[in-house]
Symmetry: C2
Subunit: 375 residues, 2 copies
């Protein structure tokens, strides 16, 4: 790795008026958590993390915060999607109160999407809102969940059904910590990177098709891809913070994906979020093609790239039984993207040309699913 990569920090602003903040993407950024907390005026922080991430990175944060003269409490949770529950939310809230985290202090969410969503939500409701510094350690969290202020937990009825909009005060995305991810986890996050190309940036998708191996390797290609994803998300969030319109485009692949995750009961050994999104994006293109909105060629090109990096594109790739098309449709009905009984889907006119279809009749989804679940 060259010095240029080591020292380069890409700054992506998220423009939200008085809730504006910055995403910093760079190599070896974890040691800057202490100075960043001090810069934000925090006397003490509570670091919320999981046992896996704690083993890898908590020492670095401890040292950095100590050197910056910032006090620290630590809340270490079990890893895994099951942690995004009411029970752990209550636990985190109680421990933040024990640590006497006040409005001027800071919650530091150190981990992947589960930790970011849970700790962000706890910060949103602690004393009706304390500040949160997101330090995402998975690719998925860096390009998606840590940016934009969506926080929440899962319910039996579906993912993220309980939550809040709570913007972070700063996001520090250390691209070098991604070297500690398993290949499967990196790939799953990469699905969200691809999403930004598919939903609105055909050139970016072209680049990824050509250059994905370098993104997987690390260095500047990876930093650039993360920054491009963050910038795309930041622009959409700035125009529609609370998802009354355009922000829904970010759900490309997610209505199908969430239903699949619910169908496996959020069992990460069978399907992780990014894999659900990959299958969901493939489905969104196939469904769009069947409805005559986009070409079959585009749908095939999408599937081909996802397969090239090792992501699943078909329901049959998920181990075990998934259930009937009707069951999946029912799970979609519990998704937040429902309005007056009609389903809202993100469909496409081609690569980089997504749109919100707010009035998809359940029957046409069912007809599509009947064939698709058998593929």
């Amino acid at each position: 790795m060259t010095e240029a990569v080591k020292d380069r920090v890409i700054r992506v602003p998220v423009e939200l008026g008085e809730r504006s903040y910055e995403i910093r993407i760079g190599h070896n950024l974890l040691p800057s958590v202490g100075p960043a907390a001090a810069e934000l005026g925090a006397r003490k922080v509570a670091v919320v993390t999981d046992a896996n991430v704690a083993a890898l990175h908590l020492d670095t944060l401890r040292r950095s915060l100590a050197e910056a003269g910032v006090g620290i409490s630590e809340i270490v949770l079990p890893p895994g999607e099951a942690t995004k529950s009411f029970r752990h939310l209550e636990e985190v809230c109680a421990k933040l109160l024990e640590a006497r985290i006040e409005r001027g202090d800071l919650v530091v969410a150190l981990g992947g999407g589960v930790i970011g969503d849970l700790a962000g939500f706890a910060a949103a409701i602690l004393r009706r809102g304390v500040r949160v510094l997101q330090v995402p350690t998975s690719l998925l969290a860096q390009v998606d969940s840590s940016v934009g202020g969506k926080t929440g937990i899962n319910m039996r009825a579906g993912k993220n059904l309980i939550g809040a909009f709570h913007q972070p005060s700063l996001v520090l995305a250390d691209s070098s910590v991604l070297d500690t991810l398993s290949p499967r986890e990196f790939r799953a996050g990469y699905a969200e990177v691809v999403k930004y190309g598919l939903l609105g940036d055909a050139d970016f998708f072209d680049t990824l098709e050509r250059d994905w191996e370098n993104v997987f390797l690390g260095g500047t290609a990876r930093m650039s891809a993360i920054a491009t994803g963050c910038a795309a998300k930041a622009a959409i969030v700035a125009r529609d913070e609370t998802e009354t319109g355009e922000r829904a485009l970010l759900n490309l692949g997610h209505t199908f994906g969430h239903a699949l995750e619910a169908a496996v009961d959020y069992d990460g050994t069978r399907l992780v979020h990014g894999e659900g999104v990959a299958i969901g994006m493939a489905a969104a293109f196939r469904f769009s093609a069947e409805l005559g909105h986009c070409s079959t060629g585009d749908a095939e090109r999408v599937e081909s790239h996802l397969r090239a990096v090792g992501l699943p594109t078909r329901v049959s790739e998920i181990p075990g039984e998934i259930g009937s098309a009707a069951h999946l449709l029912d799970l979609m009905g519990q998704d937040k993207k429902v309005k007056a009984g009609k389903l809202t889907f993100i469909l496409v006119r081609g690569i980089g040309q997504s749109f919100i279809a707010g009035d998809v009749p359940p029957e046409s989804v069912l007809a599509f699913l009947e064939n698709w679940v058998r593929r």
Copy 2:
């Protein structure tokens, strides 16, 4: 009761930009819940209430909603402060999801402060925010908790420590339902009415001193007092929605009051919220007088009015042991009104002249409490 009273509805606007709404105060307003829900475009509502209120008023709401063609689900909780817990929050959220309450639907909070705070909070976090119609049935809820968007639950560490700002879409305050309250509960709510006079409106306090018996009897005096209280709160909330400044004035009497409630472990047989506030307001005036901010005469006048209506003004009026001054101070430290280790108190320069003292040293509070808890 005259026709004029029966037909009169006082409308108090709460000006909050796109979150603006109206408080309607009138006699026999419960039957207007159905038309109001239809007016807000809801196809279905979930009514959250407690068993006591359900027995008295749920039938009226059912009829009104059915006549307006609005669907209804019912969530009936146990009465009492203990219901403002994580456990019941989870229960309400799960039941709202079961009822498939979506973003276009409506949560109706039918009850006192506990129900309003809990149902309002559940609405705030359900699918990251659905609308709520507040139908407060206690005086306290009508003049205070249903207005201004503060929602939340209690934790072992203190009251309302977990919550959200979530403005209702409408508040319907039926002044005639207050006839079903026990005298103790009505008096407790009246403490919050008095608060508006004490914190910023000396004329209103004069009126209450003269006319309180008519407020207790009902009719126009009661409607006016509720409207004056709501208008005072609405004006403050409009200027400072999320309590970064002036809104803290509404906490007059509450720092002491919350500590007392915590000290009795929220046992409503010993102390209800309004009684804590009454004792707390008496304490705020005494403390202000000791610090030389206001006259002892004003402190005595406040105590005298509170005693006249049957409200407590001293710790010794609470049955059982309260604990030491140091213990109470510790309970205050867990209150949200803490910044960098200093206590924030609402103090007074006289009746109607409150101010925020953001830097009260814990030692001077302790010195005051040492004497005061023995009175």
